[in-house]
Symmetry: C2
Subunit: 193 residues, 2 copies
Amino acid sequence: MHPHFETYLQTHTTLLPDSIRRVSSMAIPHTLRRNEYILSTGEICRHKVFVISGMLRMFGTSADGSEHILQFAPENGWTLDVESYDKQIPSLVNISAIEPSVILCWTKADFTSLLSDIPQFRSFADQIIARNNYYSRQRMLTMLSATPEEKYESFVQNFPGYLSRLPLRMIAAYLGISLKTLTRIRHMQLQRS
Amino acid sequence: MHPHFETYLQTHTTLLPDSIRRVSSMAIPHTLRRNEYILSTGEICRHKVFVISGMLRMFGTSADGSEHILQFAPENGWTLDVESYDKQIPSLVNISAIEPSVILCWTKADFTSLLSDIPQFRSFADQIIARNNYYSRQRMLTMLSATPEEKYESFVQNFPGYLSRLPLRMIAAYLGISLKTLTRIRHMQLQRS
């Protein structure tokens, strides 16, 4: 039904073919235009989302309109506002497409039944949550301790494929540095190389 | 055996008395002096830790010796380097006592068996992990978007009881602002009030 997603599950889990078909059969596909939102501040996050192709970002917005990016979700990534989804409360963030994207969505009821019926799927989901936690902790430590240059260097090392796909202002909004500082850093690197 | 901890479990979980006794019986108590370490960078985190009294902090250290604080763990808090514990790899952080403290420790083998044998304990542990995730995301968004004044204000609102227990330099190291900036913010607040 969703061959790309089924291949992803075959590659990353030990799920049996029947379970893979069941998880896949409950997914609702959506095609997103560039800049199309799937969640806006104040709405309740009602779906788990897997990205088949393209890239999404999760971000908050300040009163002055500036963006603060919590996550980039490229192909084979998952995204949701976990607190809004778990508690069914209004979200503090937005999720929208940076590129034209294709995503799969599961309702909370469907995803919850999959997690409880298929123990290997549950442990796979737990692994993804754990990996996100490890990364968040590292990112927090980097944000607390690193210079802007080191923050950018760490981003390049963690996400080498993102540089050519993202406008500089989004990288700056993810790193918590100004566009001006990021431009200066990249200019100095170009001069050195 | 550990009456404070057993009361904590009675209050926060639906565990049966037998299960509470079992979890409690596997805990190893330790008394920590101020500044005593229970984990240092490069060591493997081998225990889950519950704080009976006192306060611990988890922090990284830069080459210049400056501290970057990921977490404060006061009484009734849990602490560990989750990535080091899960993967049994060397830790990037330290955990030490800010005040004279009493803690309970569980080995990974014991804690894992408790989680798999007692489903309600597992779901309680999952709840704590989820709550930490929600808070980490909010903290990340604050770090990306807030002014130093707003960061301090958010800290005061989240942890009103910590102010009198923590040296200013630790609050600054948690907020990712300089001690000078924090001192200026507090000075301005005192003038206003």
